[in-house]
Amino acid sequence: MGTSLWGLLGLIYGQVIDLQSGKPRLVTFPELGSKRPLLWVALAWRHPPAYQELGRIVAFLVAQEDTINPSSAALRRQLGSLGGHLSLWSMPEGAAVCLTVPRSMAVEAVGWLYAALRALPLQDSLAWQRLRQRAAKAWIGFSLRQEVEWLLRGRPLLPPSLDWPQALAYIQRYLAPESLHIIFGGGLSFREKFQIGRLPLKISLKSVSDSLPSLVTPPLPDTLIQNLWAYPGYVGLAVEGPLSWKERLAFREAFLSRWQREAPPLQWSMQLKGRTHLLLQARVDGRSYAFLRRLSTLAAQDSLEARAWQAAFELFFRKVCAHPEEYPDLWITPVLMGDTLGLSDSLPAQVWQSGWPFRARGIWMGNESLASDTVVFAPPPARPPAVAVPDFLWTGPGLPPLGEWAAAFRLFWKPGCSRPCELSAYYRTARERKRLTQYLHQLRLELIQTHQIPPEALEIYLRPLPAGFPPKAIRFRCFSC
């Protein structure tokens, strides 16, 4: 049974879910294409947030990390001949074992994952003991990052209890075939789907995953910690983002773009958390720290910033589609939460200009050195201007985005504005002037007739081409009223 979940709101990237009784749910993203050289596939399952650590160790167990065990070593060798690259993922929503393989090995990759599941020890074994010891050793090491992550997730700083009965209960509850998801970062042919459907997966586990508690995150307290031992500040924040997945990614790119431009951090990492939040951890200098403290609204200050955010979002989106294996959060989390992941590479210009509130709560580690480092920091205006002044520079290819310009114009223009907006082109030689003038008139006419821009609000200009400036550039620019 195929259920296409795209088509609404012009979404261009949606998932297709195939169900077969007694088998894992097969989730594919056909619009990612089926001609790329590599294919990413994840075997994922849900679990309650408290089991994140246990989920991580069970994922190690499924991935046959214990190569001392002969059967694990054989499976690993088999994986080597597939050219597979393994990675593990464990978050509050669930855990996964991910494989990147050559495109032609799609069915074999799922076969390997099933074989690994079948080889999962269902009794206290040496493999389990070794992994448990490894997890216990990892716990002993000091990791500020991990500690902050646990605090952010509202969890006690205690090592997880890793006894075998608990692990067995976890495996039996959450790794039953019907509870599993096989997620492909790409599309599959009918033949491949058919072959995957025929692959045997006989493990004696009964699914009880319906009893999973919902993911409710308790409100996070804002904690200020005096960190006296090192200069760079450290923040671990849960940042509240918009509800839709697409907008949340846009919000992420807008925030990173503004942050990198105004007060770049020394190091940072960001993950998706649940349905609304982003988890941010960063080492910051005083300026960057103050930026985070003061930021209250994230909206494009002018059309230039909106354009930059759109470009950053577009690049991020294309990277996500080109290398899905690099962004497991994005592909796995919505599937496990039962959401529809509808993505596209652009957003309406108004979204960037209306922006979002910026609310971050969490752990702020700082000291007086950070405060003294903010002397050069100029505080931003309390509120960004409600409406940005349009200023677009178009350099091709294709046709100028007249609709986008007109949308920004309509938001901005008031009848009382004294100075009309300008539509400029740039010439290299005098010979080009005639052609460019005609072209500008044509654009102006289209803006007036099709996009209802008042004729008195738009003038055209020809200017000499500055050095290093793209020759086909067209600028649409307005001025403050």
Binding site: G33, K35, R36, P37, L38, T67, G80, S81, L82, G83, G84, H85, T100, V101, P102, S104, M105, R261, L304, R307, A308, A311, A312, F313, E314, L315, R318, K319, C321, A322, H323, E325, E326, L393, T395, G396, P397, A467, G468, F469, P470
Partner: protein
Amino acid sequence: MFQLLGLWAQALCAYTQETGYIQWLLFHPLERGRGEAVARTVAEGLFADSLLRQVAYTHGVRYRFRRRGQWFCVEGEATPEGLFTFFHVLRGAIQRFPQRLQQNAIPLVENPPELSRSFQVAYEDTLPVDLSPLALTQYFTRYWQAGGVGGVLRGKIPMPLLHLGREVVAGSVSEAYWPPQPPPTLSSPAHQGPGVVYIRWQLNGSPSLAAWAALWQQADALLHYLCAERQIACQAQWVPFAKGLELWIETGLPYATYQAAQDFLSRPFRPSPQRLPAFFTWIHRAENFLLAGWWACLWQIPQLPTAIPTLSPKELRRAARGWQLIAYTWNL
């Protein structure tokens, strides 16, 4: 078909793939592996051009500066449209650079970041450097203006971008190779503490896909041995050059790592066709996307495999014959 799948030129290599975006790299050698501060000052000064920065910002073009062995690299990613505009403006920025230098608009970079330390020690690139305007101009002219920079594009590359790229990267990269010299303290064994284990494979014959696959297999197997089996070193930088590969393994246990590497490399090595799928995955994985393109470019491999290569054991063994192998270690 050849045109569609991949293009190779002396200075600019283009490997087309339907990824929707492009990873790009501009690189040039450092003479005798020295002069990173000058190279960095020139490159950062060039890319600090206000118009270029503005275009990079509004078109979402990302870039970073990095030294890899004897090479100085500027690498980044962008959409094809964004990179087209960026290269266009970069051409203008190259023309404006001498004027900006005259106006003292170029910030000096005297202390390159720590990341390059292992390279600096190996090449003795720690001497005081001449960052006078004359030295910067000479350096700039030699590499950026007279075509001493090479380039790699990998991803979705439209033809106009390729033509423009060839105008920006118009010359030919110097064939000169400067291997790092063994440090003078090599006679005494490296002590425990931050150190580097350096391994270099130099090909006997001409580079080919078979030689690439075979060499990759040995380097990958060595790193797997050191990391997964011996658990003594897991960080390494791959630095290809025209006829071989360098591995710079960073470790806290240089002596033990060196011994383990020697043990491993002294065993007979037989490249296997069974590892070719893994080689193929390595070439196309995101984290090696640019490195693989660069390696192929330096080895003049015209196109990257689009399917798992079919090479016989005999071909692989023949390609692996007669490699020259050099390894040493030193403390940082």
